[in-house]
């Protein structure tokens, strides 16, 4: 006799017949408005964090969303990860709308879509050991025995290049790059299909960034993952993304394949962004 949750899961899994190349995630007309303003006066400032955003991400591909601070990239990420409710619009995941789900379906979605944030120091609980941190999602979703969970957590750590011997150490003993790997391991432990990286590589040293990029590409191939990579660093994005969408003030102003965008940027803002990336030519 299946539990209700198990039935819901298997129902959803039955829709999982998408092949490589079909859009895994689709967004249409997404809007998010914040009201800011004084209480009793009529004047209310409506801040449009997202304004009619439309995207689609093919399975097993990487879409990068670039833009400056305040462009709305993080808001988009949070809406997709269902941490925030959009004011209007549609979000489709594997052909199912993410916006009106039952609570069991919502639970299932959390296993499919995971988020890695920018600052690993604040995202990791310093009172837990590394393996406990990675195993936490398993605990929340009630999976397996304690030993299974530990084993799965250590496997996830190995996948991200961390030695299992470090499992019992506190995250404070890890360097910045290693902490980010830990955060990544935690995101991977449930076996998600869609990973949202919100400035996950910002603040890392260059050699660490390069290592992480290689790691992410490797994991994407081996686990058939789809990435949404949010960054303000165009150089980084050029190496990891299949398609790039440029955001400004809540709107997507340009969206094309990476090579197309870098070789032939159409919007003047995109051109400006590309021009501002420091290159390794000496001008001194």
């Amino acid at each position: 006799m299946k539990s209700r949750r198990e039935s819901a899961v298997s129902n959803m899994a039955a829709d999982d017949k998408l092949q490589t190349g079909e859009p895994l995630v689709r967004v249409r007309g997404l809007c998010k408005r914040y009201a800011q303003g004084r209480w009793l006066t009529r004047k209310k400032f409506l801040v449009e964090a997202l304004s009619h955003v439309g995207l689609s991400i093919r399975a097993r591909s990487t879409l990068a969303v670039v833009g400056e601070s305040g462009a709305g990239k993080s808001t988009l990420a949070r809406c997709l990860a269902r941490l925030e409710e959009p004011s209007s619009g549609e979000i489709w995941y594997e052909g199912k709308s993410l916006l009106d789900l039952s609570s069991q379906e919502r639970f299932w979605v959390r296993r499919q879509i995971q988020l890695v944030f920018q600052d690993p120091t604040t995202a990791l609980d310093p009172r837990l050991s590394a393996v406990e941190i990675v195993a936490e999602p398993l605990v929340i979703h009630g999976e397996g025995s304690k030993r299974d969970r530990r084993q799965r957590a250590l496997t996830a750590m190995e996948q991200t290049g961390l030695s299992p011997q470090w499992g019992d150490k506190s995250p404070l003993e890890f360097s910045g790059g290693q902490r980010q790997r830990l955060a990544l391991a935690r995101a991977l432990v449930l076996g998600p299909k869609f990973l949202i990286l919100d400035e996950a590589l910002a603040g890392l040293d260059l050699s660490m960034q390069a290592q992480m990029v290689n790691l992410l590409l490797g994991i994407q191939a081996s686990q058939a993952l789809t990435y949404l990579c949010i960054s303000h660093d165009l150089a980084l994005v050029s190496n990891i993304a299949d398609e790039v969408a440029v955001m400004r003030q809540g709107r997507i102003i340009e969206w094309s394949r990476t090579s197309e965008l870098f070789n032939n940027p159409r919007h003047p803002y995109t051109q400006q962004l590309i021009a501002s990336v420091p290159r390794l030519e000496s001008t001194a």
Partner: protein, 332 residues
């Protein structure tokens, strides 16, 4: 690079900074650093996190707490030996002769004081002028820094400004008394790309206009390439290579520098985009300064390591007139 035509402004010899953390082993965050900065010259310090660059910067201003840090060596500013000065004499130099800009502008500004007042405070600390005059000077400074609405910025509080505006306010504070040397510790790291390039242009402009010498610290060689004339490469507390910017870009000597240059994610020639590929990296991670083994600190990650690299540390070798390196490949 005619270094001989400029007077040396800062001469650092044998600078060593040891940390004594509570209950831990002594750690040398900076080890025997030797370098010279001429007046009006822009020098870059290239290194990754944990290499000791911020410690070096703080030690130049003697800002490290004496209870936990032990600083040895010689720091000669013009004719004055900074190591022998007392706290009040140092305070006269800080902000007026040597200034420092820290990494994150949001937290470098006093949240409950207006920006204009904060800049005026620095002026007031070093000039015997009345408050009104200091405020006027601060206003004039903001005008010179290409602020579009300098008046609003002057009267605003830090939290009302954008990241780029805050960083420029911090820069205004640093140059308020027209110092001879400004140390900038990763000043553009926390900024958006377009703002970043504006701030870098500002630095170049300031160097030209006021003849200020810069020590520009960054982990990104591409940023340094835009701004500085000479680069010092730092690894595990040691300066492992020093050369002119053009030399380093064309022919980096130290294997670490070579590796780092390759890590800069770049496009191909003529701006043509290169498709996704496996990136060259430096394997492993920077060493823990508390656990350094004998020999060259880069040896565990070095693709060109030799027998002698584990035996002892390499000495400095002058490869060309303006290029020095600490690596057994070239002798040492």
């Amino acid at each position: 690079m005619e270094q001989s035509s400029r007077d040396p402004l800062l001469q650092v010899r044998g600078l060593t900074v040891r940390y004594r953390p509570e209950g831990g082993t002594e750690v040398a965050a900076v080890n025997q650093a030797d370098f010279t900065i001429a007046s009006g010259e822009a020098v870059g310090l290239l290194g990754e996190s944990g290499c000791g660059k911020t410690t070096l910067a703080l030690s130049l201003l003697r800002l490290l707490p004496t209870t936990i840090c032990d600083v040895r060596g010689s720091i000669l500013l013009g004719e004055t030996e900074l190591m022998g000065l007392g706290e009040s004499q140092l305070r006269q130099l800080r902000g007026a002769t040597i200034s420092i800009i820290f990494q994150e502008p949001e937290i470098a500004l006093n949240p409950v004081m207006r920006v204009g007042d904060q800049i005026a405070e620095v002026i007031r600390a070093h000039r015997p002028w009345r408050k009104r005059r200091c405020l006027d000077e601060a206003g004039a400074l903001l005008d010179q820094l290409h602020f579009i609405d300098a008046n609003r910025i002057f009267n605003a509080y830090p939290h009302q400004l954008s990241g780029g505006q805050r960083q420029r306010a911090v820069i205004a504070q640093a140059i308020a008394c027209k110092p001879a040397l400004v140390i900038a510790d990763e000043p553009t790291t926390a900024l958006d790309p377009t703002v970043q390039s504006e701030v870098l242009t500002l630095f170049i402009d300031l160097k030209e206009r006021f003849q200020i010498a810069f020590l520009f610290i960054s982990h990104n060689p591409a940023i340094l390439a835009k701004v500085v004339d000479r680069i010092l490469v730092m690894y595990a507390g040691r300066i492992v290579e020093e050369a002119d910017t053009t030399q380093i870009l064309r022919r980096p000597l130290h294997p670490y520098t070579t590796g780092l240059m390759r890590c800069v994610l770049e496009w191909g020639d003529e701006g043509a985009f290169r498709p996704r590929r496996v990136l060259p990296t430096i394997p492993g991670s920077p060493p823990d300064p508390a656990n350094l083994m004998q020999g060259c600190p880069f040896e565990p990650r070095c693709p060109e390591r030799m027998e002698v690299c584990t035996a002892r540390e390499p000495q400095e070798v002058q490869v060309e007139i303006s290029q020095r390196v600490r690596c057994f490949k070239y002798g040492g």
